[in-house]
């Protein structure tokens, strides 16, 4: 194959660790043709990133690669660092997941960009500066000249990733390796970056190696796909074949485990390790789940606002107030799940904490079972905490590393039931563990001995030990792999059906929220912009922001992705410190009119939904 830009054959990567050798990549072979995009998909630990690092000669000190990786006919494996440096940047360049950590915080982005150009293309300082500005304009960074003089922390996540792309493409490399380029970004920004990549590929004619865990991202952007698991290739074919005619069981299971925006709402997600036909008992449908609770009101949140004081450094600094949650109201019935979605910084986590009385509300009321929580103090508040529990995003961080599982799960027992003796206490803990699918043997282990999915089960067991009425789940599956995510969602839904739990389910993944929620609330800059039941919200989104969000979600279906015209939402989230006047969304809204600038739209009923938009009736 003469026109292959990169040809990899029998690539192996091994690490020597304290626990013995780890074979991270086994006997991998693939090639990338000129102008082609190859997607490598896999869950964490599948060796997809190590493959890229091995090709670039960037493996950690204890790693070793053998096999062959030919770039334009030159062997890369085993190349000396100085020889490799000629290839890096100019021949192959790389974009990493987190743009903040791959940029030097002490230098302006323009300076960093210039260094690359001066080093590889031998340009003069002036020329490099001009070239840098041209590149910035190419990746559509507005006010390029001005941004060149900014430091990385002054740019938003999306902007930073654009800078990385500009830097990576500045020397016109023949191959761009993008390692999870959009994972750290919000969906709307992800859509922008993917759109940009698509466009640049055509313009610069670079081959792309796209590494991601997201099948949706692959579907719309790759020509061919390589599916990896445990360091091995499980499937290697054209994108259509992988999605429509998957040969391997693993690929099929992986595709099935992803909740999709366009699928029929099955109640149980098939999981990777248990094939769908064996999962057995059907769980009651969500509508049945709900009717069991007879729609009794559990939680009422009324005009809740949360403010933070932000002090800037400096002698005469004035404390400003940041409105994290602004006038949000909703109700939650017994056995109901309310999904809360929005981009990062929209106030969803602050809302959760305010509901749980972990941070004080600036105004408004939170009533649980008809009791206003705000004036409660000390013992009374403590007693109300029995009925509301929380599950956090990062399962490891939410477990005290110095406590055993028995201590962690049993801690609230000590708080509320200090009269229990050791055996009774153990019984309670064990039954909570069994309920979430863990064993009694795990009692004496420490959190670090568990995988992410197991650790999240421990977090759920801790929340369940008291039979609470309400569980607030703050991004409970965001940090987990697709297959584990499906298990945790199934577990939560099963528990809800079994005990009539009410859930507030916060997530940024719209498909997951669609799967688990009865009603969904969309938040933007601290305000609820749309509240509707699941069918109405996804079937007929009323607010322009909701539409943009749904539109930005990549669907794991190449056919749909190709035909779908992405209406990319422009720009970034405005700073919550200086929110726009009137409607918060007007700066990015394609339908904005003068009235949106002057008048803040109230939440009002349009059709089945509550929408905060002046033009909700006009927009079809």
């Amino acid at each position: 194959m003469t026109d292959a830009v990169l040809e990899v054959q029998s690539l192996n990567v091994r690490f020597t660790t304290a626990e013995g050798p780890v074979h991270a990549v086994r006997d991998l072979a693939f090639h990338i043709d000129a102008g082609e995009t190859l997607g490598i998909v896999g869950e964490s630990g599948s060796g997809k990133s190590q493959t890229a690092l091995a090709i670039m000669g960037l493996l950690a000190a204890n790693g070793r690669a053998d096999g062959s990786a030919c770039f334009r006919g030159d062997e890369l494996i085993g190349l000396s660092d100085s020889a490799m440096n000629q290839v890096r940047g100019a021949g192959i360049s790389m974009v990493f997941q987190d743009p903040m950590t791959s940029l030097n915080p002490y230098l302006t982005v323009g300076n960093q960009m210039r260094q690359v150009l001066q080093r590889h293309l031998g340009l003069s300082r002036r020329k490099a500066h001009d070239q840098a500005r041209t590149m910035f304009e190419m990746v559509r960074i507005p006010e390029a000249e001005h941004r060149l003089n900014m430091h990385p922390h002054e740019l938003s996540g999306g902007m930073r990733q654009r800078v990385m792309m500009a830097m990576a493409l500045s020397c016109r490399p023949e191959l761009l390796i993008a390692d999870e380029p959009t994972t750290a970004l919000d969906v709307t920004v992800q859509a922008q970056i993917l759109e940009l990549m698509h466009e640049l590929k055509a313009k610069v004619n670079t081959s792309i190696l796209l590494i991601t865990h997201d099948m949706g991202v692959v579907a719309g952007n790759a020509d061919r796909v390589l599916v990896m698991r445990d360091g091995e290739c499980r499937e290697y074919d054209s994108v259509d074949n992988v999605f429509y005619r998957p040969a391997g069981d693993y690929t099929r299971a992986l595709l099935a485990a992803i909740p999709r925006l366009d699928d029929a709402l099955s109640e149980r997600l098939p999981t990777v390790d248990a094939p769908p036909n064996k999962t057995g008992t059907a769980v009651a449908t969500s509508e049945q789940r709900l009717s069991n609770g007879a729609a009794r009101e559990l939680l009422t949140v009324d005009k809740l606002s949360v403010r933070f004081r932000v002090t800037q450094p400096g002698l005469l600094a004035r404390a400003r107030s940041l409105v994290a949650v602004d006038d949000v109201s909703f109700e939650l019935a017994v056995g109901e799940t309310l999904g809360v979605v929005g981009e990062s910084g929209c106030g969803k986590s602050s809302l959760a904490r305010a509901v749980l009385q972990l941070i004080p509300a600036a105004s408004g009321r939170v009533c649980l079972l008809g009791r206003d929580l705000e004036p409660l103090q000390g013992i009374e508040l403590k007693n109300m905490r029995r009925d509301m529990q929380v599950i956090f995003q990062d399962p490891q961080a939410s477990l005290d590393p110095r406590m055993t599982i028995a201590q962690i799960v049993g801690e609230s027992l000590d708080t509320f039931h200090s009269d229990l003796d050791q055996a009774e206490r153990n019984d309670c803990v064990v039954s909570a563990l069994l309920r979430v699918g863990l064993d009694a043997e795990h009692l004496n282990r420490y959190p670090h001995e568990f995988s992410g999915g197991q650790a999240q089960r421990i977090g759920i067991a801790r929340a369940l030990v008291f039979d609470p009425q309400l569980i607030v789940c703050d991004e409970p599956v965001s940090a987990l792999d697709v297959s584990i995510q499906a298990q945790i969602i199934n577990l939560l839904m099963g528990l809800q059906a079994e005990r009539g739990l009410s859930l507030i389910f916060i997530a940024h993944d719209l498909a997951v929220v669609r799967h688990i929620s009865h009603r969904v609330m969309v938040m933007y800059l601290g305000r609820a912009v749309e509240i509707a039941d699941r069918q109405s919200l996804y079937g007929r989104p009323r607010h322009p922001y909701t539409r943009a969000l749904i539109n930005a979600v990549p669907i794991p279906d190449p056919e749909i992705e190709r035909s779908r015209r992405h209406q990319v939402l422009l720009g970034d989230l405005p700073s919550p410190l200086e929110p726009p006047s009137g409607c918060g969304f007007r700066t990015r809204c394609p339908y904005a009119i003068q009235r949106c600038r002057n008048q803040r739209p109230p939440l009002r009923r349009v059709g089945q939904s509550l929408v905060a938009c002046h033009r909700a009736d006009e927009i079809e």
């Binding site: 304290a18 626990e19 904490r353 749980l356 972990l358 508040l381 403590k382 007693n383 905490r385 029995r386 509301m388 529990q389 929380v390 956090f392 995003q393 990062d394 961080a397 939410s398 477990l399 005290d400 590393p401 110095r402 406590m403 055993t404 028995a406 801690e411 609230s412 708080t415 509320f416 055996a423 153990n426 019984d427 064990v430 039954s431 069994l434 009694a440 043997e441 009692l443 004496n444 420490y446 670090h448 977090g459 801790r462």
Partner: protein
């Protein structure tokens, strides 16, 4: 077997038991613990086994080298006093200063830092400014003033050293507490209705232990050295009572004629500092469950 019955077979794990088990596996730390324990026991017991008293002068046996037949194991000094017994007595003072002053700084420093960090806000500001003010006082001046006002006494040395050392501890602990306070498991505990006192006790302090343990093992040698320094200046313990620092000082003056006066106390002092450093390292690893390899 049902689940409940099964649990009885599972022995509970206690933090300190686990720490001890892990420490035993770390050979350097374990050996250091044994050596230090042996030294502590010998400074208490050994002087009783020797026929000489620590302050008994014998002008017939001035500046003798170490010898077994005379029972002057470490030799004698310029006044004919037995160096072995004096080294043991000096060890009592030095180890005691190390322990007591460090305990003082540990208790005040951890409590002060954890409270300031956990409560935060204005309380934090006031508490840390107090620390800053105390920091600004020159230590030597402070000690000399104390000595002048209250006369020289060993208790004053404990107080003076302890009163200065807790400042560092408080700062370190406060910084750690601030970052721990933001951890999700602390938030989870608050959501679970755990009281502030219990959060500090169960979550904050145990997670501070690693840093504190290391700092303590650095503080003890430091305190012993400060006491030596004070003794060297003549502000420390009073003759005929002695400490390792005072002995090293005397020995250094006669280094050329009677090297044993310097070698033995200095060896004990150095061995103690070595041991403490190894133990500190071992403790830090042992206190962190994440580092315990299976």
């Amino acid at each position: 077997m049902n689940a409940a019955a099964q649990t009885f077979n599972i022995r509970g794990r206690s933090l300190w038991l686990d720490v001890w088990e892990t420490l035993k596996k770390n050979r350097a730390a374990f050996a250091a613990t044994l050596v230090l324990a042996a030294m502590a026991v010998s400074v208490m017991v050994a002087p009783m086994l020797s026929p000489y008293a620590f302050d008994a002068t014998d002008f017939n046996q001035i500046s003798l080298g170490p010898s077994l037949p005379t029972m002057h194991l470490f030799g004698t000094d310029a006044l004919g006093r037995d160096v072995f017994v004096r080294t043991m007595y000096g060890g009592r003072i030095s180890l005691m200063v190390g322990l007591v002053a460090t305990a003082v700084s540990l208790i005040i420093g951890v409590a002060w830092g954890a409270i300031a960090g956990f409560i935060g806000g204005r309380t934090d500001h006031v508490m840390m400014r107090i620390v800053d003010v105390l920091y600004a006082m020159p230590f030597m001046f402070f000690v000399i003033l104390l000595m002048v006002f209250f006369g020289r006494s060993i208790v004053l040395i404990f107080v003076a050293i302890g009163a200065i050392n807790w400042l560092d501890m408080a700062r370190i602990v406060r910084g750690q507490t601030l970052s721990l306070k933001a951890e999700q498991f602390v938030e989870a505990a608050r959501a679970g209705g755990v009281s502030n006192f219990n959060i500090v006790r169960r979550h904050i302090v145990p997670n501070l232990l690693g840093v504190v343990a290391v700092y303590v093992t650095l503080t003890i040698p430091q305190v012993i050295l400060v006491e030596s320094f004070l003794s060297f200046l003549g502000l420390g313990v009073q003759e005929p009572m002695t400490s390792w620092g005072a002995l090293v000082n005397e020995g250094a003056q006669e280094m050329e004629t009677a090297p044993w006066l310097l070698i033995f106390p200095a060896a004990f002092l150095a061995a103690t500092l070595f041991c403490l450093n190894f133990i500190g390292d071992g403790l830090r690893d042992a206190l962190d469950p994440r580092d315990r390899s299976k």
